[in-house]
């Protein structure tokens, strides 16, 4: 049995910065920064959003899984890695690299 709650992993390559998870989180503990870029192509120019930062602040997270359920792109998932206690509150705010799924790292 794990001695800490499960972890919510972010697949940042799958995330489209749509903000659905941040809006649906009951505690507002997901913080996303993004910017738009316009790509020129053969057809009309396309505007895409790019992720600058994605933070889950475990200090208020309920581990309810709503963010995982609502993500339209399956970019969030439960992972068995525990979120351990920290000596500072800031240490509980995990960014993109800390939220990477350890399993995905193994798969390369």
């Amino acid at each position: 049995m794990s001695d800490a709650h499960a972890f919510i992993a972010l697949d940042s390559a799958a995330c489209t910065s749509c903000l659905v998870c941040a809006r649906e989180c009951p505690d507002w503990c997901i913080h996303i920064e993004q910017h738009s870029e316009t790509l020129a192509g053969d057809g009309r120019p396309r505007t895409v959003k790019l992720l600058d930062s994605f933070v889950i602040d475990w200090s208020s997270c309920m581990f309810c899984g709503i963010c995982i359920e609502v993500c339209p792109y399956d970019a969030l998932s439960w992972a068995p890695k525990p979120v351990v206690a920290e000596s500072t509150r800031a240490g509980l705010a995990y960014g993109i690299s800390e939220l990477a799924d350890p399993k995905m790292d193994d798969e390369g």
């Binding site: 800490a4 200090s59 208020s60 581990f63 979120v83 206690a85 920290e86 000596s87 509150r89």
Partner: protein, 144 residues
């Protein structure tokens, strides 16, 4: 002046030790304010924590604050903290004690107990598992 009976809230009343770690001279007190206190109780009933030996002098007391701190109850936290003698640290158990948790934007709730007392360990979860509580106590004791 205050209508609150704080007798049951005093942290220094009953203390616990980590089961199976006699070398760890910590004494653990719980200030139970809301649902996270159930997990503290679970750590005791499941035998992860046991009543402290009153003849042993603890090297450190860990005051566990489990649950939601309202502005109204802030004096009880100050009183519990002041009642702990000797070396002492505070462990914030769960999201409410850490940041106000699901209630951080309520007018009644303190956005984290660290605005009232210094916190040495923040244990995430709503609630955290009893094992996470005990692991955090052990790392505090090992670090001291």
């Amino acid at each position: 002046m205050t209508a609150i009976d704080m007798t049951g809230l005093r942290g220094a009343g009953r203390t616990y030790a980590v089961t199976g770690r006699p070398g760890l001279h910590v004494s653990v007190a719980n200030l139970g304010l809301a649902c996270c206190a159930v997990e503290f109780g679970s750590a005791v009933t499941r035998g992860l924590l046991e009543p402290a030996d009153p003849t042993l002098e603890p090297e450190m007391t860990v005051l566990v604050v489990s649950g939601t701190l309202t502005h109204r109850l802030t004096p009880a936290l100050v009183e519990a903290w002041d009642a702990v003698v000797g070396p002492r640290v505070v462990l914030a158990l769960g999201a409410c004690a850490t940041s106000g948790g699901p209630y951080w934007d309520s007018y009644a709730v303190v956005e984290g107990i660290d605005s009232v007392v210094p916190v040495a360990s923040y244990v995430p979860g709503c609630p955290p598992r009893p094992e996470a509580l005990v692991a955090a106590i052990v790392s505090l004791a090992d670090a001291s």
